[in-house]
Symmetry: C2
Subunit: 186 residues, 2 copies
Amino acid sequence: MDTKSQLINTATALFQQKGYKSVGLNEILKACNVTKGALYHHFPNGKEELLIACLHDLNEAITTDIKTIFKENLSIREAIRSMIDKLVHDFESDGTLSGYTFSSMVSEMATVSEPVRNACSALYENIQHIFYEKLVTEGFSSESASEMALLMTASIEGAMMLCRTQKSTDPLKTVAKLIPNLLKSF
Amino acid sequence: MDTKSQLINTATALFQQKGYKSVGLNEILKACNVTKGALYHHFPNGKEELLIACLHDLNEAITTDIKTIFKENLSIREAIRSMIDKLVHDFESDGTLSGYTFSSMVSEMATVSEPVRNACSALYENIQHIFYEKLVTEGFSSESASEMALLMTASIEGAMMLCRTQKSTDPLKTVAKLIPNLLKSF
DNA sequence: GTCTATAGCTCGATAGAC
DNA sequence: GTCTATCGAGCTATAGAC
């Protein structure tokens, strides 16, 4: 793998685990055996540029990931369930919440850097849009679909936060169990 | 107000806005005209001890706040609505999300410091417990009530995250609108 | 209980050789 | 494109006078 991708992959994982400010450049560089000179060659604007690259990368990864799941599962109920199963499985296997979460980046940087806030905003919008489209093909009205997509995104992201504080996957499991009920309520 | 409370109040607001690591001790001290010596007199273990004090303080503030709202509003639907109205109003008036959110503290510190993670965990549990009790008095079964309390907490916290990225209060408003539907679905 | 001064460290970023 | 050496700023924390 080329140096640039290596940096992005390592940094993304570390940022998701510990947050943006908690991870120093030296830690990233050491983890993937790259030197400072190489980093600043690929990212002349330094750490923040690297973060934005990570967010763009994450955007593509998450989008294709969710789309694949949605293609393999006919109903949205099954799709959501297998999506959350994947998050739960990842969390249980490596102990870190790396999946579709970037709350650490959002809450640290959204109030501080506009470019970062925009990248995060685009990411959430993409996720919601995938949910939205699936819901519309299942017969939801445009308005209901966009509201539901928002609620699903929010409750999953919020559940990940609870998982992190509790060191448990129960919150995600509960949300997964309840989402079908929500869909019924429309 | 005494120095200690002053430090806690100022630090809490700044941590909520910018996150834990983004706020330096100097910034806090300057904002409330206190010197380093005074800080380390009240919090010998430094910044992290101050953070934990902020979380405990926030815990009490949020708990009494929500309990008051729940006393004034008979149905849980009205209570949730007026609770979220308050969050929306605060966000729109001062532009920062200071309300019942500490996601920045969670995502930065939960994986790094156990004492902080425990304080955050206790805070989420308290909030959920207040919801839970209200739901039980409204006739929900114990199991349904605790599931719903979790879903409500998660979706509200997730919605705040979306509000921050979008610089808009719409996500919170949408969630407020949908929660009654959720309650119906049980 | 509060002040100043400063230690000691890590950070992100830069310069210049190769 | 990658390396090392280094800068200057900012950080948390400490020491000691008052």
